[in-house]
């Protein structure tokens, strides 16, 4: 295949993935007329679609909810995952293999089976319509434990022995001595967890009914399905842009890490 043809096909493919997003941004900044053109730049530039979104739904509040849920949960995933991963990689204790098998079991278990019982747990704990329902079920994650275990296994024992001689406890060894040496793994887990939570719509739809507690994907979903968009496509697209922008900005900064992290999670299965 000639070089020219190869680049032509690749550019065509790249355009088919990028152009729709460019169109989306410019359409959201256009009058209704812009929606019916294959434009790259806004037609009859206006902010009115964004104005309508914010006046119809509490999107600012939902953004803050999303940030809160994603940041708190990701932090807890890193702490709890590192603790369990370290124990599995570095300490010998009765039941260690059992825990390893439980983690593998959890990873192969389809979520369809736990969905309804977990909702009932939320009801019984009185966590429906609270941040607890959005955070607590996700604070431990099997993949992150396995990734931490892998990273800690490859650390030299001398590093740990030296820290112990200096009188470090296990928590200080994990978070002060070892953590700085496994930053690529930390970044991978952070990206996977944060992105998953930022985009998750099904679980919030189940456990949150109260608008002030909703996260962005849920609010935008309900806005698009329900009648509040009132057929105004521009408003709907503006809401979608607001949902996409934060994660796309993160992607622009950490592109390689995003790709590597996702690929490593795909290859694990």
């Amino acid at each position: 295949m000639s070089r020219f043809l190869r680049y032509f096909l690749l550019l065509l493919a790249a355009a088919s993935f990028i152009y729709p997003f460019i169109w989306m941004v410019s359409a959201s900044l256009s009058s209704e007329r812009g929606l019916s053109s294959l434009t790259v730049f806004p037609v009859e530039f206006t902010w009115s679609n964004y104005g309508s979104v914010f006046s119809k739904i509490p999107l600012g509040r939902a953004f803050l909810n999303s940030v809160l849920v994603a940041v708190v949960t990701t932090t807890l995933v890193l702490i709890s995952g590192a603790m369990a991963g370290y124990a599995l990689a570095r300490l010998r204790f009765r039941g260690r293999d059992l825990i390893f098998y439980l983690i593998i079991f959890t990873m192969t278990l389809p979520f369809q089976i736990t969905l309804i019982p977990n909702y009932i747990t939320m009801v019984k704990l009185g966590w429906v319509d609270t941040y607890f329902a959005l955070i607590v079920p996700f604070v431990l994650n099997s993949l992150s434990i396995l990734l931490f275990r892998q990273a800690f296994t490859s650390m030299p024992q001398a590093l740990i022995d030296a820290a112990r001689l200096d009188g470090c406890g296990e928590l200080r060894i994990i978070f002060q001595i070892l953590f700085p040496n496994i930053l690529p793994t930390v970044l991978t887990i952070t990206i996977l967890t944060f992105m998953g939570l930022w985009n998750e719509a099904l679980w919030p739809l189940i456990v949150i009914r109260d608008e002030p507690t909703m996260t962005m994907p849920q609010l935008v979903t309900l806005f698009s399905v329900g009648g509040r968009a009132e057929g105004q496509l521009g408003v709907k697209i503006a809401a979608a842009v607001m949902l996409a922008v934060p994660i796309v900005i993160l992607y622009l900064f950490f592109q390689r890490h995003f790709i590597r992290s996702m690929a490593s999670s795909g290859l694990k299965d």
């Binding site: 989306m24 369990a84 079991f105 736990t114 995003f258």
Partner: protein
């Protein structure tokens, strides 16, 4: 080791154990219990024996959801493999600009399905959709992408392929790079055609990646929810009703907790069963 030290590992895994007990072990056991009960959460649970199971096998919508999922997968899996493999092959020989192309293909992977679905609504609408306007412009008839029960699920399958294919390009690239160059050199000496090299060297070497793609896509098909929920709400005529959507509908529209747990239980078994079969079959093939 002192007495206190002996407990340290257990302290470190304690959060995991607690979380596993509450969010994995209990739900699995409780879901089995629920399958034998009728319950709307508010009034007391009522034991109904096997009624949920007999109802399930006679439930037209349960079979419809499975049929819809199969129709989704029959388009989604081959399309995903062919496009991802083709793009990975193109990228594998490209050095200049490779990272730009990878990043571009990956863009839809990182955004929410909510965003992708709203975007594709503009593309697939019957009257105002981009695709139909292009068809009209070149004087072809409009296609009811989302309004025809036979077409709607295939439209969604194409959309989900567009969203996910970038991830599989990367997986295939990793796979392609594991093929030793010497194999191709030896084949060149024997005078093999490009197709022969692809069929007898590349394909067998990347078979594990193909298996990964098939399994991940299958699980994805049975987990489909937000895309049809926003795009069609399961319609027209339940032709895009997905497995998870039906669980959701039974639980949160009708409050049939026992029955929706039975649905969840069966779909989970079905996923494990299908993946086990794929494992046997795909690994032996090629």
């Amino acid at each position: 080791m002192t007495r206190r030290d002996k407990w340290i590992p257990y302290g470190l895994v304690a959060p995991y154990i607690l979380h596993f007990a509450v969010f994995v072990a209990f739900p699995v056991v409780f879901s089995v219990v629920l399958t034998f009960h009728s319950w709307n959460i508010i009034s007391p649970m009522e034991f109904v024996g096997l009624a949920n199971y007999t109802r399930l096998f006679k439930d037209r919508l349960f079979w419809q959801a499975i049929y819809n999922t199969l129709r989704f997968l029959i388009i989604h899996i081959p399309l995903q493999i062919v496009i991802a493999l083709a793009l990975a092959e193109l990228l594998n020989r490209t050095i200049r600009g490779a990272s730009f192309f990878r990043a571009a293909f990956f863009l839809p992977v990182i955004v929410s399905g909510v965003v992708v679905t709203i975007l594709w609504q503009q593309l697939l609408g019957y009257n105002m959709g981009m695709l139909n306007r292009i068809l009209t412009a070149i004087s072809l008839p409009r296609v009811p992408w989302l309004d025809d029960p036979t077409v709607a699920m295939y439209s969604i399958a194409v959309m989900v392929t567009w969203k996910n294919v970038g991830l599989y390009v990367i997986l295939f690239l990793v796979g392609l790079q594991t093929v030793p160059v010497q194999y191709y050199e030896a084949a060149d000496l024997e005078g093999a055609t490009s197709w022969q090299k692809f069929r007898f060297i590349t394909l067998p070497m990347i078979n594990p990646t193909i298996f990964t793609v098939v399994v991940l896509s299958t699980i994805g098909g049975f987990s489909l929810f937000i895309e049809p929920y926003i795009m069609t709400e399961g319609g027209p005529m339940n032709s895009t009703l997905s497995a998870v959507m039906y669980i959701y509908r039974q639980a949160f529209q009708y409050y049939h907790m026992g029955y929706s747990a039975t649905l969840g239980f069966f779909f989970a078994l079905l996923i494990l069963f299908v993946v086990a079969i794929q494992k046997r079959y795909v690994e032996q093939e090629i």
